[in-house]
Symmetry: C2
Subunit: 219 residues, 2 copies
């Protein structure tokens, strides 16, 4: 039986990107601890931390989170525009491939408003950032798919079904997709999108020391 079991959580997309290998590293370093991986949206994670159903979470945080939650800043994420080469060629026949260099300096979202898009629901902070920009620029996107699965959005972009948005943490997945396809996905910073998406380690400061939590921080 493990000495104790640590319950670690993050949002669905982030879990997919980091947790399997993080959990393996933890098990390799601390084989006498158990580890459970939990998925939830930010609000669910805060609530589970508050109720003592979780020991540690990786997520964003807002003023709506319960006061007992302690945050340690982890990293800052940026949101990028992702378009396949073929789709760019179809939508900018007169400017391709020269436009690639131009968009690399900052893609103006208004120029892409004729494309179909995949996006996430507006409850994610990174989508609120985007929606502020769309509102300022008076742009409405034609969304052919809405879900929280950013890796799936990239797959659909590679099939030329849509353009999409990617947070920094999904770029390794994009580079992997690019290894196995001739239709490369291109990543552009978005012009005038200055807001970023901070990710924190969240714990409950009112709960006593949880065995294993400090060990996890080392991973």
């Amino acid at each position: 039986m493990p000495k104790s079991t640590i319950r670690v959580a993050t949002t669905e997309g982030c879990f997919r990107m980091i947790m399997p290998s993080l959990m393996r590293q933890f098990k390799e370093m601390y084989n006498d601890y158990g580890i459970r991986g939990v998925i939830g949206n930010a609000e669910q994670l805060w609530e589970m931390l508050e109720n003592g159903e979780l020991d540690i979470a990786f997520s964003g945080i807002s003023l709506l989170a319960p006061e007992c939650i302690e945050k340690d800043f982890l990293f800052e994420e940026r949101l990028y525009l992702v378009v396949s080469e073929q789709m760019l060629q179809n939508y900018f026949p007169d400017r391709y491939p020269e436009c690639v260099e131009e968009f690399r300096k900052g893609a103006d979202i208004r120029e892409f408003s004729g494309m179909p898009f995949c996006r996430s629901l507006p409850n994610l902070h990174c989508m609120q950032i985007l929606d502020h920009l769309l509102e300022r620029e008076e742009v409405t996107l034609d969304c052919v798919h809405t879900s929280g699965h950013f890796d799936l959005h990239q797959q659909m972009a590679q099939e030329n079904l849509a353009a999409c948005f990617s947070l920094s943490m999904y770029l390794p997945h994009l580079h992997e997709l690019n290894l196995y396809s001739d239709n490369k996905l291109l990543v552009f910073p978005i012009k005038d999108l200055t807001e970023t998406n901070p990710v924190y380690i969240l714990t409950n400061k009112d709960k006593g020391y949880v065995e294993g939590t400090d060990e996890l921080r080392i991973c």
Copy 2:
């Protein structure tokens, strides 16, 4: 502008496995139609069909579904047990590798009850099938991760964090994972699990002909 837009839906896991390439094929064959891809659980898909928010869905169906839904049988899925070679070796040190051949004839779930598992929530039909078996065999599994993301379960199995279950439709993903790792995932039929998981094409028989639906059936 597209002639008309067809709204196609399936469950999250199935979407990930089949929809990006299905949607691309549809667009290649019928470029003058638009296609939107929607994700939902079975109950949500039935409701959206009933309300005319969807044209076609790929999903299971039960007696609880609204009467207006018409089903066409598509395929029958089986649920398999998935364990990595290293994990099998750790848990069956005296019987590995001979036990592999034995388990290929049908793995007795009781022999695996000491392993940690990933599984899905019991609201999925394929999990209800499993739960019937666990109940009959009086086995309780130690679940380190619960989610509807079967491809993620396979990733965690490859990291030796848990054993898991896979429906037939996720086996191509498993074979892909096996291409890039020395720690192969092994797939075993489950002894005494005879129930299967049927998947249907669902439409609303009360709604008139939807342009594009017949075209999609051809894909």
